[in-house]
């Protein structure tokens, strides 16, 4: 589904990704963890070409992202941002119908039905006419997930989806993500939520200084961390 081959990327002379290779099969849920500045977000943003790597290749659903029609292929990978990035001048329903209407040319009625079904799925069926500023952070993020799902993506990318939320709102967003994973969605999740990683991920990837330092099936990853840098990181995030 996703193949990342030795990609590198620098910002202002600093290497944020250094020869990263990774693959993801259909239905897999991979959680990427690591200290801030380790390149996790950049790796995620390379998958849907929000960033272009300087070296290496990214393949998504059999297409090379360097040569693919980005406008088309971007909607294959739905993205959820830390800051939600809902469109503030549109109602919740319009946020969801914009993509299907404009990009896929779906008739308005069909787009609205789809949007309502998705809002129901994320538990916000009663908020379709609300505007983003009227919603809590957790609700906004669930709308953002529904907006991405409206494009019927094959992969969902989550960039620290709960980092901007008050602690009591994190659970409702993770619950939606957990449900998606159970339905078989292919997911890449950058997060600091170790509980979520443990219970939902098939595989965990640890990044540090632009490299993948360790990865493995979830159980083994947490119970027998192989790399000293990972042991150190886990002891910090798990014991607080």
């Amino acid at each position: 589904m996703i193949q990342i081959k030795e990609i590198s990327k620098s910002f202002g002379g600093k290497k944020v990704l250094d020869q990263v290779t990774m693959r993801l099969d259909q239905g897999e849920v991979v959680v990427v963890i690591g200290p801030s500045g380790s390149g996790k977000s950049t790796l995620l943003r390379c998958i849907n070409a929000l960033e272009q790597p300087e070296e290496g290749e990214v393949w998504l659903c059999g297409q090379n992202m360097a040569t693919a029609d980005l406008n088309h292929i971007r909607s294959i990978a739905g993205m959820v941002f830390q800051q939600f990035n809902l469109f503030p001048h549109m109602s919740v329903l319009d946020n969801l119908t914009l993509g299907p209407k404009i990009v896929q040319g779906m008739p308005l009625k069909e787009a609205k039905d789809l949007a309502r079904a998705l809002l129901h799925k994320v538990g916000l069926a009663d908020q379709s006419s609300a505007f983003p500023h009227q919603l809590s952070g957790g609700q906004q993020q669930r709308v953002a997930i529904a907006r991405a799902l409206a494009m019927k993506p094959k992969v969902m990318l989550f960039d620290e989806p709960t980092s901007a939320l008050d602690p009591e709102l994190i659970g409702e967003v993770l619950a939606v993500m957990r449900q998606l994973a159970e339905e078989g969605m292919t997911m890449v999740v950058v997060t600091h939520e170790m509980g979520f990683a443990r219970s939902v991920a098939n595989r965990v990837v640890f990044m540090d200084q632009g490299k993948i330092k360790a990865q493995g099936p979830t159980e083994r990853f947490f119970n027998a961390p192989s790399h000293p840098r990972l042991q150190n990181f886990l002891s910090k995030v798990l014991n607080h």
């Binding site: 088309h72 990035n85 914009l98 404009i102």
Partner: protein
Amino acid sequence: MTSFQFDASVMLETLPLLMEGARLTLWVTLLGCFFGFLFGVAAGVSRSLDSPWARRLAGIYIELIRGTPLMVQVMFLYFGLPLILGLRFPPLTAGVVAIALNSGAYIAEVARGAIAEVAKGQMEAARCIGLTQAQALRFVIWPQAFRAMIPPLGNQFVISLKDTSLLVVIGVGELTRSGQEVIAVNFRAFEVWLTVALLYLCLTLGISLSLRFLEKKYKLVQ
């Protein structure tokens, strides 16, 4: 020291004539700002595009206009250009074009600033659901940027309205010109210029108030 006697009745008597001029001033301003808005948005959006050629072209236009006095632009359009083109626009047309080109350059900077103000995350979110850059600008960035543009836009419209008084040099019969013509007949400079000033004030206040109304109407809660 002087035998000057203020005569308010002069103000009332000349008002109908001056109103004619004020009407033309308003028309030149509205037309000029309408086309200026179109030029400005086109140039401002071009400045925000990925294409370096679009950015450069818009940049040249903006610098050219902002770096030269409006008076010179007006004279160049009316007296200079016809020598090359071989045809002369009527003064009114030249005046509207000058105001449009001039306000367009300033509005371009307003538009560019407003687009930049809409967070980068909005463009990314729009691109992620598959919108092209043009679609994202149209459906996501522009509606937000337009709201941010309203207050500075009102400012520019007021400036452009006052700028139309410069069109006196090419003989457009706007408010300032009407004032001159009335004084040539009755020599009541004090009363006439006072009336002209008050009429300008009414017009600029009208613009400010309507823009403030628009601003309230389209206010966006973040």
